[in-house]
């Protein structure tokens, strides 16, 4: 654990940037076709519940991170095994996100540069930031959040004036069976909303822990709304068929802007936004993974772990998939079911049950001694 403090506002900014980071470039909830934006709203509701769950579990052990309270709840052996798996999960996700953003840059902007070089450059930046600590990251977040907000608002205004938004593309609403919509909602609960799980590793740094609940709920709500609106805009500009064929729908949407003969080819808007979002997503994942490893193995100076574990993340990101379609398929089919579901839903639920039982025992003991 480093000695650092972040304010509720900084937490909010980090959470929003983190949630939007990769979900804004990789479309979510497409099983629901043109109702994807509704599916995202449903997913957001699920995300709020998950957040409350994580908060509840954490509130039994204030000042501790999951890798620390897992052994307290499940006993030292079992708890440590699960804490270890949890750290592995975080590293895997960090590598996945790194791969996402590396691939995005190769496909879109640097077709001849090897993926490894791009990921290496990402990692140099991430490792540097993680060494500087969470405070530095949080302050960077406050500045860059404004930049992203300005870009988003400008793009939106330009799209409106460009006349590319055709809401007819959102119709017919509820075309698919309700079960399909529910399925799409379920998919978007774990990615991106369930990933807010990683912030349980950051709560101990909060200056006002009590505010974390409200801030977290707001963050999930706001990012869910932004995501849903973005999806609705993408859908109404591109139509479902083109959107589902696009690797990065937001890029295609922004490319349709052709205003007044000179405001066109604004791909750079997309690039800046994505680089900022990606930076926070990767950095936060790597940061919490390293903090988890440090607390699990009782490494006093967590910064000693940054270089070696950063290097592992880098190689992991190259090794996890042979090509981009494979990577995306894993991300949409395998990861939510076999990784997100247990780590984001089942384990926290079990932890909650365990925590409640342990606390009852404790209270009984306290009563008995009295």
């Amino acid at each position: 654990m480093e000695k650092a403090k972040i304010s509720p506002r900084q937490l909010f900014v980090l959470m929003v940037l983190f949630q939007l980071g990769s979900s804004i470039i990789i479309p979510v909830g497409l099983t629901a076709k043109q109702d994807a934006w509704l599916a995202i709203l449903g997913g957001m509701a699920g995300g709020l519940l998950l957040f409350l769950l994580y908060y509840k579990v954490g509130s039994y052990y204030p000042g501790l991170v999951p890798t620390e309270y897992m052994p307290k709840i499940w006993g030292p052996v079992l708890g440590k095994i699960f804490a270890f798996l949890y750290v592995l999960y975080l590293f895997y996700l960090a590598a996945r996100v790194l791969r996402d953003f590396g691939e995005m840059l190769v496909i879109f902007a640097y077709p001849e540069t090897p993926l490894f070089i791009i990921n290496l450059l990402w990692m140099v930046l991430v490792v540097y930031t993680v060494r500087k600590g969470i405070e530095a990251l949080a302050r960077t977040g406050e500045i860059l959040f404004t930049v992203v907000a300005i870009l988003a608002v400008t793009s939106f205004i330009l799209l409106v004036f460009n006349g590319s938004i055709d809401t007819r593309n959102l119709q017919p609403v509820f075309e698919e069976k309700p079960i399909t919509l529910l399925k799409a909602m379920g998919e978007s609960v774990t990615f991106p909303f369930g990933e807010i799980l990683v912030f349980t590793m950051i709560y101990p740094y909060l200056t006002q822990l009590k505010k974390a609940k409200r801030v977290g709920l707001y963050a999930v709500l706001i990012s869910g709304l932004i995501l849903s609106v973005t999806m609705a805009i993408n859908l109404s500009v591109l139509g479902f068929s083109l959107l589902s064929r696009s690797q990065f729908p937001l890029l295609s949407t922004i490319q349709t802007i052709q205003l007044a003969e000179f405001l066109e080819r604004l791909d750079v808007f997309f690039m800046i936004g994505v680089i900022i979002g990606g930076f926070f997503k990767i950095t936060i994942f790597v940061y919490v993974a390293i903090m988890g490893a440090a607390s699990l193995f009782k490494v006093k100076e967590s910064s000693h772990l940054v270089f070696p574990l950063g290097l592992i993340t880098l190689f992991l990101s190259i090794g996890i998939a042979g090509n981009f379609p494979e990577h995306i398929r894993e991300g949409l089919d395998v990861v939510p079911l076999y990784l997100h579901l247990p780590f984001q839903v089942i384990f926290p639920l079990l932890l909650l049950v365990g925590a409640i039982l342990r606390n009852k025992k404790k209270q009984k003991k306290q009563l008995a001694t009295k």
Partner: protein
């Protein structure tokens, strides 16, 4: 310097070498910017693509009043290949620079290719490549080789592809008989089961060879001008026919793409007696089930001014105007109905009625989706209603024609 500092210095120094953006760098002198791509089919069944490259020096130099000995503002190279990517490769044997597609804003496809093979396989590479833009316009070469459209020079515009683009844009705006459709819209229409694409045609009048020389620009009237010529109608990605004139305008009308146009109508038994200029219009297309069959309603609301009269008409009288409004409405309704009838024969739903029906009746759509074009669309019931408003009559009320002694009143 301490060890740590030396290390840091080493890292920074090496970073500045490896990360300063020299990977796959391209100098301006190594690339040739493609202005337009024209695709034909040669006798062996291969693609024959002609690239129109900007010749930057001559575009800028022309402004300083260059003489007749100047070379043209563009250069055209042609290469063949079985796929578009192969063409790209083979192109390198002929041109000293690497083709660069980020500024390509026109794709021309020959009529023959569109008829025999369809446009779908041709466009895939453009949709996929990251250099291409989805906003690239697509046109069909009508009656000439696609190559002729990119080799012919234009008088007012330095770059011929620019001329085609702007002609398309301005004629869609002013006349509404040609459609300015881009790559993304074409592909969306190709994919959608409830819509077929309609793409503008362009042709070269006169001898296409004459227009390729710089000398042709010396004349006030180009020997072989490029003109917009009809719209190609597609079915299953293949060209099945052309529509032009009011038939094409009606399609744009129903698609709610028409910006303005001129309608000429008869008055008191006199043909072509007055011209009405549409200033703004709004079309609503809705769909429902009537007697168990799909039914489409098209409602057009238009506003405009009287632009010209060739016979004396009392334009001061609101009753007269009302009558004119009704006449125009009837005429437009007839035009649109005729256009729909013609299109039904081709079984190609260029109006996108299928999409409208899909949006309105998703459940019924599932049942008819597969047979929409061939069985439902040709017998589709379509109601057209037109609401016309004449708002103004220009700077004059009654025409001077009314005052002339030989006026026909």
């Amino acid at each position: 310097m301490s060890r740590k500092r030396t290390f840091l210095f080493g890292i920074l120094a090496s970073l500045s070498v490896f990360t300063s953006g020299c990977w796959s760098e391209r100098q301006l002198t190594d690339i040739a910017m493609v202005a337009a791509v024209a695709i034909d089919r040669n006798e062996e069944g291969q693609y024959e693509a002609s690239y129109q490259f900007f010749n930057p020096g001559n575009i800028a130099g022309g402004l300083q009043g260059g003489g007749g000995g100047q070379s043209p503002p563009v250069a055209v190279y042609t290469a063949t290949g079985d796929t578009i990517m192969e063409v790209h490769g083979n192109m390198s044997r002929k041109i000293s620079r690497e083709p660069y597609y980020s500024h390509t804003n026109l794709v021309v496809i020959s009529e023959e290719l569109a008829k025999k093979e369809g446009i779908a396989p041709v466009l895939e590479a453009f949709d996929r490549g990251s250099q291409f833009r989805v906003t690239t316009s697509v046109v069909i070469a009508h009656g000439v080789k696609a190559k002729d459209l990119v080799t012919t020079l234009a008088a007012l515009d330095k770059v011929p592809s620019q001329k085609i683009m702007q002609t398309l844009e301005s004629t869609e705006k002013a006349l509404g008989e040609n459609i300015d459709i881009d790559l993304e819209e074409v592909i969306n229409a190709l994919v959608s089961p409830g819509r077929e694409p309609m793409i503008s045609g362009f042709t070269v009048k006169g001898d296409p060879k004459a227009g390729t020389k710089q000398e042709s620009l010396q004349a006030t009237e180009m020997p072989s001008p490029i003109v917009a010529d009809g719209n190609a109608v597609f079915k299953n990605g293949k060209l099945v026919g052309w529509i032009e004139g009011t038939d094409a305008r009606s399609v744009l009308w129903v698609m709610d793409r028409l910006q303005s146009t001129t309608i000429t109508t008869a008055w008191a038994g006199q043909k072509d007696a007055l011209s009405y200029r549409v200033v703004r219009q709004k079309t609503n297309v809705s769909a429902d089930m009537k007697n168990g069959k799909p039914h489409i309603s098209v409602h057009i609301h238009m506003e405009g001014d009287i632009g010209e009269v060739t016979v004396p008409i009392n334009l001061k009288d609101p009753k007269t105007l009302e009558k004119i409004e009704k006449d125009i409405g009837k005429q437009v309704k007839k035009e649109i109905e005729t256009s729909i009838r013609h299109t039904k024969k081709r079984k190609a739903d260029i109006f996108g009625f299928g999409e409208v029906f899909h949006r309105a009746e998703p459940k019924e759509w599932k049942k008819v989706e597969k047979k929409w074009e061939d069985e439902i669309f040709p017998h589709l019931a379509v109601d057209v209603s037109v609401e016309t408003f004449i708002r103004r009559t220009g700077l004059r009320n009654n025409s001077y024609l009314s005052e002339m002694k030989n006026g026909k009143e």
